[in-house]
Amino acid sequence: MSRLIGALGEWVIRQVKELGGVILLFADALRWAILPPFRLDLLIQQMEVIGVRSTLVILLTGAFTGMVFALQTFYALRKFGAETMVGVTVALGMTRELGPVFTSIMVTARAGSAMAAELGTMRITEQIDALEAMAINPVKYLIVPRVLASSIVVPILTVISDFVGIAGGYFVGVILLRINAGPFVANIQKYVELSDIYNGLIKAVVFGLLLSLICCYKGYTVKGGAQGVGRATTQSVVFSSVAILMMDYILTALLF
């Protein structure tokens, strides 16, 4: 019994240590981000890798999320004769929750895992040591561009996701389920406020920051060869996803 408690305690201590590590990395990255010279070239490169290459995935996930949400809410709302509210439900669902959360999780799976794997491999092949030996600060060169790019790109992808999600909802609702187009659209305009959209985007920025910090941290601190890299990659996706969902609750409570 005491062994069980000991093991649990050890796990908790490990997690707190990791959390501490991530926060310290954040502080370090912040410091290096505001110190010149500003490496715009590296930032743009990462925005292309993390953002542009995720666009197709986001288009697909956003569209289908909106479509399925429209389908599900239709059957519920029809019981109350409120089908014309399907559009609002989808729009609010996308902008406030599904857009930012699904986008971040997709980006985590795609780009976050790649960050962890790439940095982890660089760590075990001494490429990060080589950077330091060549008088380049690895946090400034490797981590700042990824974290900054992620914080910029995830909100942009969220906007795209929101849009195709609502469009998908319109397609399902108006075209397939033959809800009256006029009231469908009018209700969206009436009930969806600017704050729904930009609070969703605030969430997206935070999620982007979180996922990149966690994934970079995991890769940067890899120990133990190829197995370590594999472990770090899986853990980074899992931890980032859980962190996003937990932060989602906190932010929703604070913002809405």
């Binding site: 790439e118 491999t121 660089m122 092949t125 001494e126 490429q127 040591d129 080589a130 330091e132 030996a133 060549m134 008088a135 380049i136 600060n137």
Partner: protein, 245 residues
């Protein structure tokens, strides 16, 4: 040139360096021998400040470096070149971009001149035709040659080699040894090589030291070293030269 005084380093419970004292003279090739796991890489990383000791001092070119931090340490590192085991080339860049990297990051030279210098360094290691290849397409020996070209890109005053011939077949190893000798003679700078390969030491060293049990047990000229009757030196030489015993 480099003076290491009473250096101690532990990783958790494991004591790796237990009072290392070593003098690396200016110019020439100093070889630090030691068996695998003896702490040679750890020692080398201290010289360039990648690791900080628990106790002790390292004086390089008149400056004590263990208490240097950030910007000062970085400036200082520009006078070093380091060749890591297996090269540590950046695998997302071509051979050419790897060699040009220090020039692009640390100088304001125009791209044309960077190109000229990088190609010259590559030619000196005999790999100019490989310039558009990716590191994953290179053999072990080629990777290390590119890494040497990169380490020399900024014309450093001290070059550190971490096991330059380990893992290479005898012919390729000999070619790397030749390259190290030839480069040092041409540039006249200070080279520090760590290895467990006695043959490499015999071929390139102008000074030899043995790292055993966390300390330098003997340092001296090659003649002094290889003829020494110090028991640890004799044990090391006989074990390494006849591994089937």
């Amino acid at each position: 040139m480099i003076e290491i005084r009473e250096l101690y380093k532990s990783f958790g419970e494991q004591e790796v360096l237990k009072g290392v004292n070593l003098r690396v003279p200016e110019g020439g090739i100093t070889v630090i021998l030691g068996k695998s796991g003896a702490g040679k890489s750890v020692l080398l990383k201290h010289i360039i400040g990648l690791l900080k000791p628990d106790r002790g001092e390292i004086v390089v070119m008149g400056k004590e470096i263990t208490r240097m931090r950030g910007g000062e340490l970085n400036e200082f590192r520009k006078r070093f070149g380091m060749l890591f085991q297996e090269g540590a080339l950046f695998d997302s860049m071509t051979v050419f971009d790897n060699v040009a990297f220090p020039l692009r990051e640390h100088t304001d030279l125009p791209e044309r001149e960077i190109r000229e210098r990088a190609l010259k360094k590559l030619a000196q290691v005999g790999l100019e035709e490989a310039r558009e290849k990716m590191p994953s397409e290179l053999s072990g020996g080629m990777k290390r040659r590119v890494a040497l070209a990169r380490a020399l890109a900024l014309d450093p005053q001290i070059v550190l080699f971490d096991e330059p011939t380990t893992g290479l077949d005898p012919l390729v190893a000999a070619a790397i040894e030749d390259l190290i000798l030839e480069t040092q003679q041409r540039l006249g700078k200070t080279f520090v090589v760590i290895t467990h390969d006695i043959r490499t030491a015999r071929r390139v060293a102008s000074k030899v030291a043995l790292l055993e049990e966390g300390r330098i047990v003997l340092e001296g000229s090659p003649e002094e070293f290889f003829r020494s009757s110090h028991p640890m030196v004799r044990a090391f030489l006989s074990r390494e030269e006849a591994p089937l015993h």
